[in-house]
Amino acid sequence: MGSRIAAVAAATVLVLGTTAACGSGGGSSDSGSGTIHVLVYGDAANKVEKQLVETFNKTSKVKVVLDTIPGADYQQKLQTVINTSRAPDVFFNWGGGSIQPFVKAGLLLPLDDFIAKDPGLKDNFLPAVFNSAVVDGKPYGVPMRGTQPVLLFHNKQVLADAGLTPPKTWDELVAATKALKAKGITPIALGGGDQWPTLMWFEYLYDRIAGPELFQRALNGDKAAWASEDSRKALSTLKELVDAGAFGSNFDSVKFTDGGSPALVAKGKAAFELMGSWYYSTQQDANPDFAKSGLGYTGFPSVGGGKGDPAAVVGNTNNFYSVLKKTKYPEAAAAFLKLMYSDDFVKAQLAIGNLPTTTSTANFLDLSASPAYSKAQYELVKAAPSFQLSWDQAYPPSAMTPMHTAVQQFFDGRIDTDGFIKAMSALPTS
């Protein structure tokens, strides 16, 4: 019996030995055979990225390896790996504030040289978008995926059954929620468990009622902004909607990221959902038939008496690829980035409902999965006088958890207007 255990022990030692060999071997062979790692946010859009990487690898000597991290964990994983030996060569980000700490730490490669060799890396993108990844006068990101305004989506069938049309004003939205509630349908689906979907409601109401300046002031360190009259008005308007049961009562047990809230809308258990424009590809991936024929969308309703322009949008300006300074294959990275303005890329993004921000986008809108959706989005963004970046992207990362907590607690009635103002005023701003 003893010898049997010894044999097991010996066998396991052997396995361990090979593991260690594999483990370290894996790391070094990666760089030896010439690969660059591209880290992206894991969601339905990954299939386009996978396809793109396959195309790239067919011709390139240096191969691209695509690493995806589930969306809910993307940002935290990115920051934990970015200064390690396993940092990616190229990574997905939201431009602006999201890469600022990395630029400050000297980790990112300014793309001037790439652009000098291939001006198309700059000129083929809409300038306003390209410039939002310029930090301290240097470009650090090439736009990828697309612009992501937040839209109010709805289930066409559910609205029709209730005799409703998509709301253009806040009052119409409130009236619609009452009618839906009377029919036993949750008026608005909300993935409150994720917290950031709840935040979108604040972003839009503040923008509509106070205009984009209030948030900018708060972000610049003026804590009094949160206590202003407009801020209180936005909060009370929102509170009324919540108290009227517009979101049902169990929204904090539902998530968007795991597909919960989109399923509610697709199955007709809820009528509306406020979400970024990637919602189309989410639905297309999970409920293709619904995405094709049942999914409706509008901009956020106007709010009577508000200072903000009803055409303004909030959301993520765009996604970007940035390159790390320590990449061994900058040429390969540059070649990969060129694909971001290729016709194939634009077509593939449009096919899943994303709206790329290349100058060529308008030419291909008809090829989109839903040309009407792409055009509406395109017009919306083009006409918008301002594009408010998501609050949690605009603030430094350490503000995210307290901000999300405050937003959630306000919705479930654990803190009142004063409590919310206090929590937001306490956020770190620099």
Partner: protein
Amino acid sequence: MRRRPNFLAGFGSLVWLALIGLPLYVLLIATFRTRSDYSTEGPLSPPAQWTLQNYLDDFSNGFGQDFLNTLTVTAGVVAIVLLVVPPLAYAIVRARGRATGWIFRLFLLGLAIPAQAVIVPMFYVMNQTGLYDHLIGIVLPTAAFCLPVCTLVLTGAMRDISPELYEAMAMDGASPARVFRQLVIPLSKGGLSSITVFAALQAWNGFLFPLILTQSDSTKVITLGLYDFQTEHGVDVPALLSAVVLSMLPILVVYLFARRALVQGLTGVGGK
């Protein structure tokens, strides 16, 4: 002695059976259903149509790789534990010096250190040493945190070896190494199988170290795979739950064929 049946206990046991059985029923039945069947008919309804597609999907989603990684980590942890714990336990039971007493106390104290408490510096150290995102980086801390319990269990087992046996061997002039090989190891095989199972379970079910110390698909272990899948596709319950079922299969096999060792490994501190 004849006893009348205990109705109260019978009723209680059925209530508990429902509490345990209902989720297990949902778990098992969901894995054979299609996604749309599950979300429209609800979790309690039987499959409209049986399918094995969910299990196949798991493998195309990389479950095989996760499984191999977990197996490697488990083997590594068990190897380390079996290499260092038996000599340690032997020394604690038989050595005379004050130093071994202190070492034993060190491990008792270590029993109180939660893995969460050291995860930040562990992350820092793995970063600095380049072990971040390598399986060995999970193996080392996982093994270390198995040591206190394994030491307790094995010293318990070795204390039961009767002193006469040691003395008999001492008369023959046997060296400590020979005593260890010919007496201690053979007579503490129960304890050894307990710590093997304990260490293997810790490694197989470990979550925190993989969560913080790895990132790539190539180093993903099963628990992390489940977590990632739940975070991203939580609504695809059938695929998720079939991965859960696959993750428990190896332990089920141990449960069926080596129930005693599993139970002793599970109960760790209490049994021996």
